[in-house]
């Protein structure tokens, strides 16, 4: 693709609006991105988009940012990646800055306080719904190791209060070692 100002602006505008309308973050960005870059603009092939989604999911950090870096880089090199990052980060940065400025005054209001308290119960339900779905998948797969990791990680973190970063490092390494072991023995533990 031609690296001119017009295309950079188009990339910025696309990522900005994608980010501004991605509520809840995470996986939602992938289908929206496909619609924009594959169907609407014809900048990417569907196959490429799927590979990018896989890489964005495999990397740490916010998925929307990861996907933008990959798409920006693929389309217009390193400056494309930077433009795409700026477009993705700006909407939440602006919105949360504004909310944050008013938050203190906002929180002290009796009515707002009551609404936030009600919403807290709602957000609890939403998170638990996510946990049920994710945990259900782990249990239904009926592989002993992931179930063991899930129970173990909970006990080590919630009861023993071990630093979360050590738990992530340990379990990630364990997964890597098991997959290498599985490859050697032809079994499927993970």
């Amino acid at each position: 693709m031609e690296k001119n100002l017009k295309n950079y602006f188009k990339l910025f505008k696309s990522t900005f609006f994608l980010s501004a309308f991605t509520f809840g973050g995470g996986y939602v960005i992938i289908p929206l991105m496909k619609k924009k870059f594959v169907d609407e603009l014809g900048w990417l092939e569907e196959e490429e988009m799927l590979d990018m989604a896989a890489m964005a999911q495999s990397s740490p950090g916010p998925m929307a940012v990861n996907a933008s870096i990959l798409a920006g880089w693929r389309l217009m090199g390193i400056f494309g990646a930077l433009v795409a990052i700026a477009g993705t980060v700006l909407p939440p940065l602006i919105i949360l800055s504004v909310i944050s400025l008013f938050y203190a005054a906002f929180r002290d209001n009796v009515m707002v306080n009551a609404v936030l308290k009600g919403m807290m119960a709602g957000v609890c339900a939403v998170i638990f719904d996510v946990v049920i779905t994710m945990g259900g998948k782990v249990i239904k797969a009926k592989k002993p190791l992931p179930i063991l990791i899930m129970t173990g990680a909970f006990i080590v973190y919630f009861v023993l209060r071990v630093n979360i970063i050590y738990i992530i490092l340990f379990c990630g390494t364990l997964g890597a070692l098991m997959s290498l072991h599985d490859k050697k023995t032809g079994r499927e533990n993970v």
């Binding site: 909310i99 938050y103 992931p146 290498l180």
Partner: protein
């Protein structure tokens, strides 16, 4: 040096959150509430609620919110930069590796190990929010009269609706905000 602390905390959040969505939540709680005490658990829960109501990734929303609260606009920029820097490095590296080798068995293994871990960590973060919602900032007690039954009812109703009709979560939060808010003001 508060800027450096903010940068380093959110760098770690960016580096260790795998899996999108709520995966970053326990890490943010650990850094922002438990380790540095930048936010109370109530403020953190408000932040999660706000993040779910506004567009953008939870990690970026949190970086901006915490940064602004602690050190103004500069804090927000430093935190956000810290949060996305690991992505920039690792995604580029991975894209390069992927182009070279295509099949990444080890990375798949790492993710297979992390998926159940992330579920456990989100579950833990959820438990602390649940205790806050049902018992308030003083924490869990066996005393039944200390339970907030409005919150319990909202939670149960919300969960039922989510499981049964799979609506957009925003409606559940808005609904519980309006109905719960009215109940709290009336009773």
């Amino acid at each position: 040096m508060i800027y450096l602390q903010l940068f380093w905390s959110f760098f770690q959040i960016g580096l260790f959150s795998f899996g999108g969505g709520f995966a970053a939540m326990p890490l943010i709680q650990s850094q922002v509430v438990d380790i540095h005490g930048w936010l109370t658990l109530t403020e953190f829960t408000d932040l999660i609620t706000i993040s779910e109501m506004t567009p953008g990734p939870i990690a970026i929303n949190s970086a901006t919110f915490v940064g602004t609260q602690i050190a103004g606009l500069g804090g927000a920029l430093v935190s956000t930069f810290g949060c996305i820097l690991p992505s920039c490095i690792i995604v580029s590296l991975l894209a390069w590796l992927y182009g070279k080798y295509k099949e990444l068995a080890v990375i798949k293994g790492v993710l297979a190990g992390l998926r159940p871990t992330v579920v456990a960590l989100i579950f833990s973060a959820w438990l602390s929010i649940l205790v806050l919602s049902f018992w308030g900032p003083d924490g869990f007690t066996w005393d039944i009269s200390s339970i907030d039954f409005i919150a319990v009812t909202l939670f149960a109703a919300g969960l039922f609706l989510l499981q049964k009709f799979k609506p957009n979560p925003i409606f559940i939060m808005l609904g519980s905000g309006v109905i719960g808010g009215a109940c709290y003001l009336l009773f």
